[in-house]
Symmetry: C2
């Protein structure tokens, strides 16, 4: 495939494609090491793994920032008239990666990688033991190094420090755009939550399926639904880890979940969510797999694919009509609890709750907006890490209407900040908005889509998503993809219509 990428092209571009192919292989190796760390590695392997990840991260950085690369990019851009549109987009993606990498010194990159490795390991224990004090110095170190990196990048890119971080995850994610979209959400969501709860109060209470549900049985249920959706196990795996994620590379996508034997519903829906990410990865343009343009556009589109599968498809009455008999069979469950309508009441329950990953789609954006505010404050120096637990609690009361009884259910719940990912949280909600917009378009363009879903026919939807989102890789921006697929750029209207149809009727 690299041959395709390089045939009959100007020499500087060809040389760059060779170099970026190597960088892609190193990134792929890192993805496997990270997956292993979360899903397989015994605790005693942490120090050695931190060394391995740091060494590869620094090497990647050194190779990307070698003086020759900057010169080659300049030459290739000067010769760019000879490039086809994919190559031109690839060259832009190369430049974007290079700008991020050259902004930071190798020392800062290595210091941050090491701090994040340590902090993530401490976080695993600190969360389990509800011990914010243990995490605090490590998180403070990560925040300090992230502030330093954000400041350097902001100066180089001519944007705010927060935007410089956001840009790593979502190239079009300006503060203006976030403030506008989040402002629109804040304009209706608080009232909407109250109305949804009111509507829900007039419906039958959900019958909670009674466990225990052995992890192995849950895994079997997940594998059956993944298979039905079209997950290709020749190119992927399902495993368990503390924090569910999608990792690996497009040829070999590794998704994970976390099993609770008292409640199968979360792990199962988590698997379907990650499957949406996996479909995106698998649908990326194979001919460009080893080049920057062959990667996902950004996390907003990535989350749109997981949330489309989870929220739009798998929590719908249509999907639950298909899944209910399978789940009832696997768990030998009672008829009343496993009836599609009842599973719908379980899976579409709205609640003012504490844990983001378990939050319903109505309150979820409020969890995200809290984190958006707090991470901006942490990075601006307006909030000290020591004050995070208090600020978290106050924000939860204001936005969601509940106060966490412990840090475990408060600011210790997410791996993102210990993992050095600031500017990431907003993409969850951008993704939810995009998912609603894309699914509305898919329903308009695929005849009887909900009927197909109800009978377990997922290929038409998957093909539509591949043709309208996945296959472009990073060639177009998020808004360009959405405009092409749905007729408009990212907005809140489709999301609001979706919520109204689902929760106020």
């Amino acid at each position: 495939m690299a041959a395709t990428a390089r045939a009959n092209t100007p020499s500087a571009y060809a040389e760059l494609s060779v170099r970026f192919r190597r960088l892609s292989a190193i990134s792929g190796a890192l993805a496997v090491l990270e997956w292993d760390r979360a899903a397989m590695m015994p605790v005693g392997g942490a120090e050695a793994r931190a060394e391995q990840v740091a060494a590869l991260g620094v090497l990647h950085h050194e190779l990307l920032t070698a003086p020759a690369v900057g010169a080659l990019l300049d030459h290739a851009e000067a010769e760019a008239t000879g490039l086809d549109p994919w190559q031109a987009a690839n060259l832009r993606a190369m430049r974007r990666g290079w700008r991020h990498a050259t902004a930071l010194s190798a020392d800062l990159v290595e210091a941050k990688l090491r701090a994040v490795s340590r902090c993530e390991m401490v976080w695993r224990t600190a969360r389990a033991e509800n011990d914010f004090a243990a995490l605090r110095p490590h998180l403070a170190e990560v925040v300090a190094l992230t502030r330093e990196a954000a400041g350097v990048k902001a100066a180089a890119f001519g944007c705010t420090p927060y935007e410089a971080l956001l840009d790593e995850y979502e190239p079009e994610g300006s503060l203006d755009r976030l403030d506008t979209l989040f402002g629109e959400l804040l304009g209706f969501l608080p009232d909407f939550v109250a109305r949804a709860l009111e509507t829900q109060a007039h419906q039958p209470a959900p019958i909670v399926p009674r466990g225990p549900f052995p992890a192995e049985r849950q895994r079997q249920a997940a594998l059956r639904l993944m298979t039905a959706l079209g997950f290709d196990f020749n190119h992927g795996r399902l495993d368990a880890s503390d924090h569910p994620f999608t990792g690996g590379v497009p040829q070999d996508v590794r998704i994970t979940t976390r099993y609770d034997e008292a409640d199968f519903t979360r792990a199962l829906m988590g698997v379907l969510h990650e499957s949406g990410h996996a479909f995106y990865e698998r649908g990326l343009p194979e001919a460009w797999a080893d080049q920057p343009v062959g990667q996902a556009r950004g996390m907003a589109l990535h989350e749109s694919q997981s949330l489309l599968i989870e929220m739009q498809v798998c929590r719908s009455p249509a999907f639950l009509a298909f899944a209910a008999p399978i789940l009832r069979e696997v768990f030998a469950g009672e008829a009343a609890a496993f009836a599609p309508d009842n599973l719908g009441r379980v899976y579409r329950r709205v609640a003012r709750s504490l844990i983001r990953v378990d939050a319903d789609e109505v309150t979820y954006p409020l969890h995200v907006i809290l984190r958006y505010r707090l991470e901006k404050a942490l990075l601006a120096g307006d909030l000290a890490v020591a004050d995070l637990p208090g600020a978290w609690s106050a924000g939860m009361v204001e936005l969601v209407g509940v106060a966490p009884p412990s840090d475990r259910e408060g600011c210790l719940q997410d791996i993102h900040w210990p993992g050095g990912a600031f500017g990431y949280f907003p993409t969850y909600t951008l993704g939810a908005l995009a998912a609603a917009q894309l699914f509305a378009a898919a329903k308009a363009q695929i005849p009887d889509l909900l009927d197909l879903i109800a009978t377990g026919e997922f290929a038409p939807l998957r093909q539509w998503l591949t043709a309208n989102v996945h296959c472009f890789g990073a060639r177009f921006g998020t808004d360009a993809v959405l405009r092409q697929a749905t007729g408009s750029v990212l907005g809140t209207a489709a999301f609001r219509r979706h919520l109204e149809a689902r929760y106020l009727t």
Copy 2:
């Protein structure tokens, strides 16, 4: 720990220790990727993994062969009077690695890595389908590239091409030494096999435990015995793969086995064998973990540790007296089949058989000598890959006394040649000899060792092995370690005495 390695030392050596620390991290990353490929990776991930492994292999080679490294080695050797004995040994180990790496061009290294990746993947299918023709062109490519590498190294080191390959696995493994030791074995083994079979014919036939033995139950049995032996699951894992091996890094040792639900005995003993490798890795000097001297001395000592645990300890009446009740309980087995004496007859059965990894310790060296002859002939150009199946059959008839009915049970059985490992097989038998010699010494030095084993007390033996073998890493040569621990260099006498005591009485 690198601080220890670098404190108060001449500057060239200190600079080298930084560089080799990075190389160690890359090697560790490669070890995890290789383990994953064998134990976890879905088949569709093969191409991407081959790219990752090739990229890291080439990077490792580039970093090790950078012009500065040769100059630093020269300077450090000139300043070597300032080094302590560990540092001096580390410097020698660095030079050894550098000599192997600089002998080959980056192109040849990359070509061989790619050919091996492809050939290994083809081998997995070819073996399953008994299809030597499918493997042939890939194996021919690997042989051709290995011949080229061996020739280049032989010229650089001033030895024969075969010795140049052998040196990668066993630094003291000259052809003279192999021919002498193997000659001694060939001097008594053929007759010994006949006498052992004759002795065995006068004993009760073993009662074969009746299955099926579910893989999960076998895994439970293996985990119990690993735990009893002292395997530290905070620093290691047990998984399944087609070809059992020990991988990972000393902090995080990954062992694998292959389950056959009709017969638990092979997977179980395979796990105990790999556990012996794992104990060696875990016992290596931690302060030198990121430096060449902190690695295993060579494969002869490595195999001595697995074979000491497997052959000397775990197939002994003492160990089986300890293990029998555990196995009977896990498998809910019948009293007669799970009696220690009967398990001994199962586990010490001598047979003229086809598969090396299942061969008894009496005939095993004959399997190795066959491979030694064939790989020398392949590399010398005296045997074409196309003629391998025939030469294999003829050799099996001559040495072991049986002819394979298919290539699957003949020349397709081992991963070594498809994996590019020529010169490796002899180390199995060197290891068997060393194991007998070391265990005889351990019995002489630890009071009541067999009684301790029979009661499940393995710590004294493990500590003896760590103190006499593991803790030296690569500081001393194989013969120096053996002379220190047993009073003499590697020979066949202890092995012969062991066989006579076990099989002729």
